[in-house]
């Protein structure tokens, strides 16, 4: 009985448990649903419980595991060639540590963003620019008007909100925000780099 099994490996997964099954790292399709379910339940590896560690598993290892269970099967791989498995221990540290980290990053981005924009204003000499614009518009020294500063501040706020496409939970459009896009790109880069590195260091979980 020859069965064709199609598997699509994910690029990276983050798991809480220590046992990694095929269903965790790939999507599987087979005409026979029974076989499909049995393949999904095959265990690929057991990760270390205590530490947060990363494993890179090659698609060949997955195919080997499937063929061990179903010697007659034909496996077609349609997807990534390697998968990065990250084991994250949910117990232990808990939510408090995460909230502290989030709070600290929030503080840094809040103050840092403020400083960056002030540094930019200072760098390009925005204050002198404003003085000059007042002179050009009024034809004389500005007499204590604050119009430009106020409208500039409002404009900056509008620009930021339009650029990021959302503010708080209010959001326009379904697109991911620029930072979310950047985040995914960055994660992709990290995964690719990790796969390359473990290939070089030969600690990828592979058949040979």
């Amino acid at each position: 009985m020859e069965q064709t099994v199609y598997i699509k490996l994910n690029k990276s997964v983050c798991l809480a448990g220590t046992d990694v099954f095929i269903s965790d790292i790939a999507s599987v399709y087979c005409v026979d649903r029974h076989v499909c379910n049995r393949i999904k339940a095959i265990k690929i590896l057991k990760t270390d419980a205590g530490s947060t560690s990363r494993y890179v598993v090659s698609v060949l290892k997955v195919i080997e595991c499937i063929l061990k269970e179903f010697p007659g099967a034909v496996v077609e791989s349609d997807g990534e060639q390697d998968v990065v498995i990250e084991h994250k221990d949910m117990k232990g540290k808990g939510k408090a540590a995460e909230y502290i980290k989030v709070f600290l990053i929030c503080l840094i981005t809040l103050l840092g963003g403020g400083l960056a924009v002030m540094a930019y204003n200072n760098d390009v000499g925005m204050a002198d620019m404003f003085t000059r614009i007042y002179e050009l518009v009024y034809g004389s020294e500005n007499s204590g008007s604050r119009i430009l500063e106020i409208s500039y501040s409002i404009g900056l706020a509008v620009g930021i909100i339009v650029f990021y496409g959302h503010f708080g939970s209010w959001k326009f459009g379904k697109d991911p925000t620029p930072l979310e896009v950047e985040m995914r790109l960055y994660e992709d880069d990290v995964d690719t780099a990790m796969i390359k590195q473990s290939e070089r260091e030969k600690n990828e979980i592979d058949v040979d």
Partner: protein
């Protein structure tokens, strides 16, 4: 007179919008915040970081351009301490991220045919920046 004021309002609004777009495209592309999220494994909160960054920039800009002063008294010192620390962390990561974006270190490594010692180089990088900073502020190298 009101037409001049109206012109100034429009000019200020447009200037602010464009500056924000350009400046935040820069900060986003350079990837400081994404790196923070990745390092602390809190990528799920990226939207919160976006909000704080936006609020921080809006308030910071308003503070700077309007020149508001708060009499914070003793609290001011604590604020300065926390703010200085955060400013340092942010600017430190910003400059490294900038150097990383234009791929300085990989290019140097490749040119000099070095294959190991990246951690040492990074520590040296950080130390050099720190020493430079101390010289700048405490040993009269400020221009």
């Amino acid at each position: 007179m009101w037409i001049k004021a109206a012109f100034l309002i429009v000019a200020g609004l447009c200037a602010g919008t464009m500056v924000a777009a350009g400046f935040f495209a820069f900060i986003t592309a350079i990837g400081v915040v994404t790196t923070y999220a990745q390092r602390t494994k809190t990528a799920g909160h990226i939207k919160t970081y976006e909000n704080t960054l936006a609020v921080g920039a809006i308030l910071g800009n308003a503070w700077w351009s309007l020149g508001l002063t708060f009499g914070m008294g003793g609290v001011g010192r604590i604020f300065l301490l926390v703010a200085g620390l955060c400013y340092g962390i942010f600017v430190g990561s910003l400059i490294i991220a900038l150097a990383e974006t234009i791929k300085t270190v990989p290019v140097f490594f490749r040119r000099a045919k070095i294959t190991t010692g990246l951690p040492v180089v990074i520590v040296a990088f950080a130390l050099g920046k720190c020493i430079g900073n101390l010289l700048f502020y405490f040993f009269g190298m400020k221009v």
